[in-house]
Amino acid sequence: MFDSFLFYLSAFLTCFGAVLVVLERNLMHACIYLLMSLIGTAGLYFTLGADFLAATQLVVYVGGVVILMLFAIMLTGGGLENKKDRLANLLSYIPPMGSLKSYIWGSITAVAFLSFSINITTKLVKSTEINGSIKIGPTVEQIGVKLLTDHVLMFELSSVLLLGALIGTAIISRPSKEIFLERK
């Protein structure tokens, strides 16, 4: 139990956080549960030996994306909750499907999904060995080498993408002149 304590803790945080994001109606609470799920994912990366990736996940997602979402939720009115009773809320989770085509596609998707998950679960229950033969070393240098030799095109393009996102977001979300004049 002490061997894979981190794995069980991170898996619990991740899955429980995801379930609570589905079930929670208040938007700010859902954002905090997403934060919990992202911290659990960082723990899972640590158990997989991806230390640089886990730290990147913590820096980018926890310190960037979650704060951004909280700011956006606050600036757009706070996510008002609807006040139905509990049973009607549960029934409203099932999305309404009207035509025969959507029922056929829905059942095909459900069958595929169930078969996939049953396949994985049986393989999980049958195999119990923990694969420790691949050595886990520090990944920072290897990722650095790969980024600058094999994947240098993606690296440069992602820097252009980030520059475009930065400038684009700043221009898009600036209030226009009419709104300033109207508020005066």
Partner: protein, 372 residues
């Protein structure tokens, strides 16, 4: 993958690591470290009151215990026994979780602080990066504390606090990258092993770019902990103590404790990166257990010196306005930090990672031998 206090203790006793033993050693070490840090947080409040009194030519607290040293215990008892008030219109879940997020963000950074070469809880390969990531949880906690209090002043304080923290992360990260370039690794042990015990082997005197980078890091880290001249989110004269207005009792105690421990962590990281970490001059003690105590003493001495400078700066400089704060970050500190990064990379390429002192000594000895 890493090498930590467990391996050190096991090498002292020459036993094999079983998972239960590893868990127990970690548990004891974490217990000791968290208690020592809480003590440092409490004594930090006492030190702040005494040092500010000294600067302002008055006596600080001197009633409770000899020289008033038990004042922080009295403050703690007061905070614990206060009535826990939650505003009725507030979002109770977010109100409860904000101080917890702040404190857990700060306590999680304690896992990688290099106190001595044996007493690191875990020497992650990505230690510095992990520390930066986890200390962003404090920003989330501040924002939630401001939002959940359902009060105008708290909301303004929370927004300003969160935007200040995420803005000043940029110069902090770039200054840390300057040192990472020199050492070649992100783990704290590698960063410290590139330095020595003597001041001229520290990274702060390695080249002029890292010298400037030390001050950039120090100023930006002060701003990140909402401290010193950058404490507008909790300014008493402007925002009625900002994002922790509505908190009383131990909830406010969590915020205050998180701030003081975070100042200690930031000073500890500055010492580890720039000022030689736990290395003792003259190599006192060597590899024995006494060497560990010397290293712990060296680390704590340097960190407390920086802590004194932080408190000194707080009671000397006036507070900055929020637009001055943002313009300092984006218009001055970030370009200087980027210039330092490029300058350090150029220095490494030109001089093959030799420090200023080494170059000077080789130039002097070279000219001395050919001068005759």
């Amino acid at each position: 993958m890493n090498d930590n206090i467990v391996s050190y203790v096991l090498s002292l006793f020459d036993t094999a690591p079983t998972p239960l033993l590893v868990f127990l050693i970690f548990g004891v070490a974490i217990f000791i470290l968290v208690n020592v840090m809480a003590l440092i947080g409490g004594l930090g409040t006492y030190a702040e009151r005494k040092i500010s009194a000294d600067i302002q030519m008055r006596q600080g607290p001197n009633r409770v215990g000899p020289y008033g040293i038990l004042q922080f215990l009295a403050d703690g008892v007061k905070m614990i026994t206060k009535e826990d008030i939650i505003p009725s219109e507030s979002n109770k879940f977010l109100f409860t979780i904000a101080p917890i997020l702040c404190l857990s963000g700060v306590l999680a950074t304690l896992a990688v602080i290099p106190i001595s070469s044996g007493f690191i809880l875990t020497d992650l390969n990505v230690g510095v990066f992990y520390l930066l990531g986890v200390s962003s949880l404090v920003g989330v906690g501040i924002f939630l504390g401001g939002y959940a209090s359902n009060s105008k002043w708290s909301m303004l304080g929370g927004m300003r606090g969160a935007s200040q923290i995420i803005s000043y992360e940029v110069p902090v990260t770039i200054s840390i990258l300057t040192i990472v370039l020199l050492a070649g690794s992100l783990s704290f042990k590698e960063l410290i092993s590139g330095q020595g015990g003597y001041p001229w082997t520290w990274y702060v005197f390695h080249n002029p770019f890292t010298f400037v980078s030390f001050f950039i890091y120090f100023v930006s880290a002060l701003a990140e902990t909402n401290r010193a001249p950058f404490d507008l989110p909790e300014a008493e004269s402007e925002l009625v103590s900002g994002y922790h207005t509505e908190y009383s009792g131990m909830r406010f105690g969590f915020f205050a404790l998180a701030e003081y421990i975070e100042v200690f962590v930031v000073c500890g990281v500055a010492v580890a990166l720039f000022l030689g970490g736990y290395k003792v001059p003259f190599g006192l003690g060597g590899d024995t257990i006494f060497g560990q105590f010397f290293q712990i003493g060296s680390f704590f001495t340097k960190t407390f010196l920086l802590y004194y400078v932080v408190i000194w700066v707080r009671w000397t400089l006036p507070r900055l306005r929020v637009d001055q704060l943002m313009s300092i970050c984006w218009k001055y500190l970030t370009p200087i930090a980027l210039f330092n990064l490029v300058g350090t990379a150029t220095w490494i390429w030109l001089f093959e990672n030799k420090s200023m002192v080494e170059l000077l000594m080789s130039a002097l000895s070279g000219s001395g031998s050919t001068g005759h």
